[in-house]
Amino acid sequence: MNRNQLLWGLASLMGLACSALWAAQPLDEAGLPINAGMAGSWANANIPGQGLFIDVDPVSRTIFLAWFTYTDSPLMSESTIGSADNHWFIALGTYEAESSSVEMSLIETQGGVFDQSDPVSETEVGQLILRFNSCESAEMDFLFDENNLQGSIEMMRLTAADVCTSLAES
């Protein structure tokens, strides 16, 4: 697997925003029940450079994820770490037993400094729904409160899903 395959992409959410079916997608539609093997990196291969890292705790039925993306437009500011246009969100939610989907709070943080203990504030900026169709395929719906920006993205597992497959078959 080369680096380009690992560096993820997402579909054009802006283009999909008007046709998104945020409220029409039921949480309990058929899919693969969530398991711990779904932890890892997910993305849409059509657009490079953005995606999700997911973690799953099957005991508390908690999913925590980070959405690595960018600002809407270049900020043209200085940067010594990463890119000045980097933007990331985190999301946290709990799922029901045998459920293939989870509704999560989308959270933006402010105030942090690289590798320092400065306090960080967290603000809920929207909602996010993940539905797992299989160990390799999922859909992510998102809705931002501020500008009603919403969309739906097909996500694919970036790396091997062997653990997920094994757990799903057990």
Partner: protein
Amino acid sequence: MFHDDGFLYVSDGSDATVLRYDALSGEFDREFVTSGGNGGLNNPHSLRFGPDGHLYVASRGSNSVKRYDGATGQYMDDFVAAGSGGPQGTGTIDNPAGLLFAELDSDSGQAINAGMSGAWTNLETLGQGMFLDVIPGDQRIFMGWFTYETETASAFNADNGNHRWMVAIGPYQGDTATLELLAVDGGTFNGPDPVVENPVGTATLQATSCTEATFTYALDAGPGGTMTLSRLLPDALCAELSGTTGAGDENE
């Protein structure tokens, strides 16, 4: 016995059970090993969690050491069966009362496995951290590091909270991964713009256990350091996988 899951485990000799209590308050939590599912436990004495994350109990009345699922308490097997240790009557296990797991290799850490995929953070710098994705087939790790710019928000445009993120990829062997850190530039939110990957430094990740690792980084721009990473969510698979070659049962 206090365990790092926040509970106190106590063997109950009369009922042949293992009871679980809150380690801080002492409040009863539940019957972890039940009398109806104890696999023949008889007069339990010493108990320990093993390197595979499961609970081992010395069963004095049955002259055996029984193993229970570390997450559910369900009986698994007789890890040391009655009669072990030699011909009957010549030194076989008899009235076992103590358990001790010797360090298998105190100089080495935890071999990296797919169960380490997930969120990790430095507890000293909450609000930033790493996600690991372990790729056993390639013996490689893919990592995302979500963090911030090095200066305070007033020095830069704060529209994005001075967010910064990097990715890293590299091979691992045993408990150690050697990673190349990459900044990814040129993207816009959900836009199809091509991106450019720029090497910005190197890092080493050494797993000391399924829930703790040491991360050492050196960025070409100057910053460098070492931090202790802790698993943000409880370990679900690493301990299980470290004792087997395949995927383990899910701890539900």
